[in-house]
């Protein structure tokens, strides 16, 4: 194994990969709007664009991965959302990223990292809902949202692992 920790190891490669992944978040967010996941659990989303956040975490040094996540939240929020969805995405995205980063540092595998990302994304969103609404009723959604987070995180993690393996192979 002669891998460098981060495959895109020159500034040009890194900027190019960063730009492609950022563009992909917009495409995936748009695609996700066409999926009727809302019918299963109201307000639940698959979080397809989190695929890119997961990949970013493994392909870039920390500051770049943070930047990718922040730009993803800002771009998709401005393009597809409103003020409310932006607030929830920001809280969910930040908490999700933190959870994924810590799990990765802890040495957990990609699937586990992704599931924790999905779970904590929803924890962050519920926390904002609780803060805005000031109602304990928000907590009634906790089990359904956490379960949805586990499912979505596992699905995103499975696809993410496939993509990352191919990317690593092509860079090695």
């Amino acid at each position: 194994m002669s891998r460098t920790p981060f495959p895109a190891d020159t500034p040009a490669k890194r900027v190019a990969l960063f730009g492609m992944l950022l563009a992909l978040t917009v495409a995936l967010s748009w695609l996700e709007r066409l999926l009727p996941t809302d019918a299963v659990v109201p307000g639940a989303k698959l979080g397809l664009a989190n695929l890119v956040v997961l990949c970013g975490l493994y392909l870039f040094p920390l500051p770049w991965a943070v930047g990718l996540t922040a730009l993803k939240v800002a771009l998709t929020g401005l393009l597809f959302g409103n003020f409310y969805s932006l607030a929830y995405s920001a809280a969910g995205g930040a908490l999700s990223f933190l959870a994924m980063y810590l799990c990765k540092r802890w040495g957990r595998s990609m699937g586990f990292v992704s599931v924790m990302g999905g779970v904590f994304h929803n924890v962050g969103q519920l926390a904002v809902a609780w803060a805005i609404l000031g109602s304990m009723g928000v907590l009634a959604h906790l089990p359904a949202m956490l379960l949805a987070g586990v499912g979505a995180g596992a699905a995103v993690g499975a696809v993410g692992a496939l993509i990352l393996r191919r990317l690593w192979r092509s860079f090695d």
């Binding site: 891998r3 109201p42 307000g43 409310y84 000031g134 928000v138």
Partner: protein, 124 residues
């Protein structure tokens, strides 16, 4: 070097147990027959017994409005003017602790104080 496996067996078992626990929590038999408690921005607007069918117009925050409908021992939301309509698509709620939330209008409907044990928990 980070862990590049998809998942170890031990992590898989932990996550399945987590999911099973959450599913148990979600489908645990609840109590029905309580009242729907309506709040806006954390302030209680009213309480409506689930056994008395009625329609309650609600003026939410930020200029959004909706109608709380109580019928058949359950509560749901109709005629919402909010952008995402998640509250309106939410299935009717009847179990104690269940809630429908309209985020843009900052309106919540929570079921409280039920005293009848639910007959068919899994269909709930």
């Amino acid at each position: 070097m980070e862990n590049r496996r998809f998942m170890t067996p031990r992590e898989g078992v932990c996550l399945v147990l987590l999911a099973a626990g959450l599913a148990l929590w979600l489908f645990w038999p609840g109590r029905t027959g309580g009242q729907a408690v309506l709040t806006r921005s954390g302030e209680e607007l009213g309480r409506y017994a689930l056994n008395a069918p009625q329609r309650v117009p609600v003026q939410g925050a930020n200029g959004f409005s909706l109608t709380l409908v109580v019928e058949g021992g359950a509560a749901h939301v109709e005629d919402s003017t909010c952008p995402d309509l998640i509250c309106q698509r939410h299935a009717p709620i009847s179990r104690t602790g269940e809630a429908i939330i309209c985020l843009p209008g900052q309106v919540t409907v929570t079921i409280e104080g039920g005293d009848r044990l639910e007959q068919d928990a899994l269909s709930g």
